[in-house]
């Protein structure tokens, strides 16, 4: 088990995390765009994309919540070895990882403070499929409209209603990622 925890990280962290960050940045800056990342081989059921995001963004200073289903010993060991992120409860998390159902209720996550809206959680939501179908997205980063296969609408409506507070979301599936910042307006497709 321990050998599994030691493997699957970035072989050349400075360069691989730089490339991964640029993809994550592009995803967050252009909601609805589906992009591909690589370089991590995390233990199942963690997707490659979610693994890459953790390696790129998390460290000892970012408390991480693993939702049921992802809160498994192999994943805990892998995350701890590669990032050192402390594993915490939802209310204390800077990042939260899991399937959409397992993350519920998402109202538990930090939405920032009125004077510091940046002090909010980033959710990494694992999906079976990630496609440009379904919900219609508008807002900053989108020229006209975009479409994305969101797991539900109402939670993201609520999140948009409290802007500039709110959590931000990465959606991941296998090696694919998409971003959904709190600024995006979401309508039924």
């Amino acid at each position: 088990m321990m050998s599994q925890a030691l493997g699957g990280g970035f072989a050349d962290a400075p360069v691989q995390s730089a490339r991964a960050f640029r993809t994550a940045l592009d995803a967050m800056a252009r909601p609805g765009r589906i992009l591909r990342v690589g370089g991590a081989k995390p233990p199942a059921p963690l997707s490659v994309a979610a693994g890459v995001l953790l390696l790129t963004l998390c460290d000892r200073t970012t408390p991480l919540h693993l939702a049921p289903g992802h809160d498994a010993p192999e994943i805990r060991d892998w995350v701890t070895f590669h990032t050192g992120a402390p594993l915490v409860t939802p209310g204390a998390a800077a990042f939260a990882l899991g399937r959409w159902e397992a993350l519920q209720p998402v109202t538990r996550f930090r939405i920032g403070q009125p004077d510091y809206p940046d002090r909010s959680a980033t959710l990494i939501v694992e999906l079976d499929e990630l496609t440009n179908e379904g919900a219609v997205l508008t807002g900053p980063g989108i020229e006209t409209v975009a479409r994305l296969s969101l797991p539900e609408l109402s939670a993201f409506h609520l999140n948009r209603d409290i802007f500039p507070l709110g959590y931000d979301t990465f959606l991941t599936s296998r090696d694919k990622i998409a971003g959904l910042p709190r600024s995006t307006r979401v309508e039924a497709g």
Partner: protein
Amino acid sequence: MSDYNFAYLDEQTKRMIRRAILKGVAIPGYQVPFASREMPMPYGWGTGGVQVTAACLTPDDVLKVIDQGADDTTNAVSIRRFFQKTAGVEVTEATAEATIIQTRHRIPETPLTEGQILVYQVPIPEPLRFLEPRETETRRMHELEEYGLMHVKLYEDIARHGTIATSYDYPVRVEGRYVMDPSPIPKFDNPKLSGNPALQLFGAGREQRIYALPPYTQVVSLDFEDHPFVASKAEHDCDLCGASDSYLDEVITDDQGNRMFVCSDTDYCRTRRAAGLVGRLGGEAA
């Protein structure tokens, strides 16, 4: 002293900056505090921009650095060299070829595209700072969207001068929420902030703030119905390339009061001249 990491900063620092950039992108126009590091160039000389660029760079990037629109100004040269040395990236002077452009005081004339990131060096990120020096106060004003003071200031200008007497560093409102400082670009450049296909990132090192405009973000220069915002420039054409649509520097050519006007964007001017376009004095200079 040993070798430095790729793009100078250590990985933990880059992660911290990257997280701040992502929050900035998610909250357009809001200034995200970040633990700015001491860089090997002085505060006030682009350390914020340099940290943002360092956090974004990959070995595949093509970097352009401009100061006052020019690639050859000494500080632009110094920053470009820094990244050539620490990140080994390819550099260019051509706006269209660059994937990351770090800038001080200008937005290039050549329209930016989707694949590009424009990184601004910002001296004072707080648009309300010269109206209210206290951070604790301005933070509260942003929280409550209390921007009346800014309008009062602009209106006092009109009462006194008949026009808004802010010619650069002209404040904007982002997506109807945050009032933002676009860095000391001339107000001529303000319209380019809005609906831009490129991602725009702003770094203020000494003041420890990062903020962002995602692509296609709506950015409105503050104004009044009876005194609408006007993007102004010298009423001349470029004397070298003849451009009538670019921002101009005024150059004093002798001690008799003669002067000429040339594009501040050196790449724009050079490209036009290479295409055979000639201004009033361009023939002589060529």
